[in-house]
């Protein structure tokens, strides 16, 4: 990605062109997705797509954490939940609207990420997975027992409409378009992180923590930082979710949804900018396309995950890209052979 980086000086400036190229497919796909309402899709399709888009925003945060830094969170839905409950409580108690709730919820989720991250990221990978898993369960328990403040097991209703430039976003198509725009912002933000020197520092930690530390990189602080960054994405995803559903409850943010998020990012591929988008869409629409009931779809997801881990460790998109490259090089070799054949014939004739 930074093959073209200029090497002078201590802080190399990355050449923008090759990096920008990686962003183009995502933006093209998102533009196409934004045009879907022209085909007058069903409300069911729009609802599914909105849920998928909201997940994808969280997945872009998760890709910074898992794809770049190599840390897996098994409690990411809980951070989405922190954002969702923050938005709902702010709206109920203080009449805070959507746009103000966004930064506040992002900050709240980031703070929760820091609180979970500081003790657990110091002790290494597996502990972090367990700690985030426990955090997800703990949050569900706290929300369930929070009495009227958190709405207990029933959860909270989201009050207040979403307005953009005076237009009501309650309409499904409009909300759909707004979510697509948020996904685009999340993709660009994630891309900017990946292509910054900060992103490269995170990758250095992923590749070799011990070596990174020997080169003056504060490994612990950067790992916590990556988790906090992923928390910001999760918080924003939560606000969009609360406003879309109109009602939130603790089970939505417990372990299972977290496992689903981890699954999506693994299936799509965490390192490429197209991965979260592909993973989010695939997992949302697969049961619909194959007409599966929830139990069947869980089985399919499980099989998919095992298949991806065994066969495509870098995710579906990277796997497809590698396959295409292989086919392409095989074809061009074939062509080269043919051309050589054509060229060699006249020379033989001359002889």
């Amino acid at each position: 990605m930074s093959e073209g980086s200029t090497p002078q000086g201590k802080h190399p400036t990355h050449s923008v062109a090759p990096a920008l190229r990686s962003l183009v497919p995502v933006l093209v796909v998102l533009t196409l997705i934004a045009l879907v309402p022209l085909l007058s899709p069903s409300n069911r399709f729009l609802s599914l797509a909105i849920s998928a888009g909201i997940n994808v925003i969280a997945l872009y945060g998760l890709s910074v954490l898992f794809g770049q830094t190599g840390i897996l969170s098994m409690g990411h839905a809980a951070l989405v939940g922190v954002g969702a409950y923050t938005a709902a409580i702010l709206a109920r108690d203080f009449g805070v609207g959507f746009w103000l709730a966004l930064p506040v919820a992002a900050l709240t989720s980031a703070v929760f990420a820091m609180i979970v991250g500081i003790p657990s990221l110091r002790v290494g990978g597996h502990h972090f997975v367990i700690m985030t898993f426990a955090f997800g369960q703990l949050l569900a328990i706290v929300l369930t027992n929070g009495g009227d403040y958190t709405g207990a097991a029933t959860g909270l209703d989201m009050v207040g409409p979403v307005n953009l430039f005076g237009a009501d976003m309650g309409d499904l198509t409009r909300y759909y378009l707004m979510v697509v725009a948020f996904v685009a912002v999340a993709a660009v933000a994630s891309w900017a992180i990946i292509n910054s020197s900060y992103g490269r520092t995170l990758r250095a930690i992923r590749e070799n923590e011990k070596l990174a530390a020997s080169l003056g990189i504060n490994v612990g602080r950067h790992k916590i930082g990556a988790f906090v960054v992923s928390g910001v994405f999760a918080g924003i995803s939560g606000v969009l979710l609360a406003n879309f559903l109109g009602h939130i409850s603790p089970t939505q943010f417990a372990s299972f949804p977290s496992i689903y998020l981890a699954l999506m990012v693994m299936i799509g591929g965490a390192r490429l900018i197209t991965g979260p988008l592909a993973g989010g869409i695939l997992v949302a629409f697969l049961p619909e396309v194959l007409n599966l009931d929830p139990v069947q779809s869980r089985i399919v997801y499980g099989v998919c995950l095992i298949a991806v881990i065994l066969l495509l460790p870098d995710g579906l998109i990277a796997g497809i890209a590698a396959f295409v490259r292989k086919v392409f090089t095989a074809k061009s070799k074939e062509r080269q052979r043919q051309e050589n054949g054509v060229v060699s014939n006249p020379s033989e004739a001359r002889r």
């Binding site: 201590k10 990758r203 530390a213 020997s214 003056g216 504060n218």
Partner: protein, 241 residues
């Protein structure tokens, strides 16, 4: 002149075993000091305690007069102590050049931070890897990986460089090349401390040797004198010497 690195009464226990039992050692500015000893004598523990991997049970380490005992590994690096590992390491998924660039990005107010420093390319050139600059570090042969490790440590602008068995796994030609490089370092303002049990290498590199045995220093002085010391001969009898 006071030593650049001063180790006083350093002790480290693992369970009931004393890996270091009160070691005193001073590294003088501008020298190449060798720390030798048979396997299990505490060389790598000494290295790990100085670089912050382990916390000592007793004793202190001070660098340029500043107490750095128990500092974190990244803080040690930022203070101006570069170090390489016994196992050659690099960021396998990144190119050689990117490896060295990253290594130079986190330099803080370390000892040599204010002096002009070679660019990442110049460092790759110094260790003779310019031709491979765009190759991914993961595909490198072992010898090149060692040299890259040296370039990475140098990119952190160290005033003191600690090398843990820098020639392990290298062939004779590669070892000679490495010795040639390390010998140049004091001329560039970098003090070197090499930890190894390979006496041939140490004789080529160091004018002064310190010998560890069972976590204690048993000899310290000019290389020839140390090698003639009966205590040292006894430790190495049947060993590498």
């Amino acid at each position: 002149m006071s030593p650049i690195l001063e180790i006083r009464g350093l002790s480290k226990q693992f369970g009931g075993v004393a890996a270091l039992a009160g070691v005193d050692l001073a590294v003088e500015e501008g020298e190449i000091l060798g720390v030798v000893g048979p396997n299990g004598s505490g060389k790598t523990t000494l290295f790990n305690v100085v670089t912050g991997v382990h916390r000592p049970n007793a004793g202190s380490v001070s660098f340029r007069g500043r107490d750095i005992t128990g500092s974190a590994p990244h803080a040690i690096s930022r203070a101006g102590i570069g170090y390489t590992f016994q196992q050659a390491m690099a960021f396998a998924g990144l190119s050689m050049l990117e490896n060295v660039q990253i290594a130079g990005e986190h330099v803080r107010a370390g000892a040599n931070a204010n002096t002009p420093w070679p660019t990442p390319q110049a460092l790759l050139d110094f260790v003779g890897l310019t031709a491979l600059a765009d190759e991914k570090a993961g595909v490198l042969p072992f010898g090149s990986l060692r040299l890259l490790g040296l370039a990475l440590a140098l990119a952190t602008q160290p005033a003191l460089l600690l090398l843990d068995e820098p020639a392990a796994g290298l062939n004779d030609r590669e070892t000679t090349a490495l010795v040639g490089l390390v010998r140049q370092l004091p001329g560039h303002g970098i003090t070197v401390c090499v930890i190894d049990h390979d006496m041939k290498l140490m004789q080529m590199l160091c004018r002064r040797l310190a010998v560890l045995d069972f976590g204690s220093k048993i000899a310290d002085g000019p290389t020839e004198a140390v090698l003639a010391d009966p205590k040292v001969l006894e430790v190495y009898l049947g060993g590498d010497l």
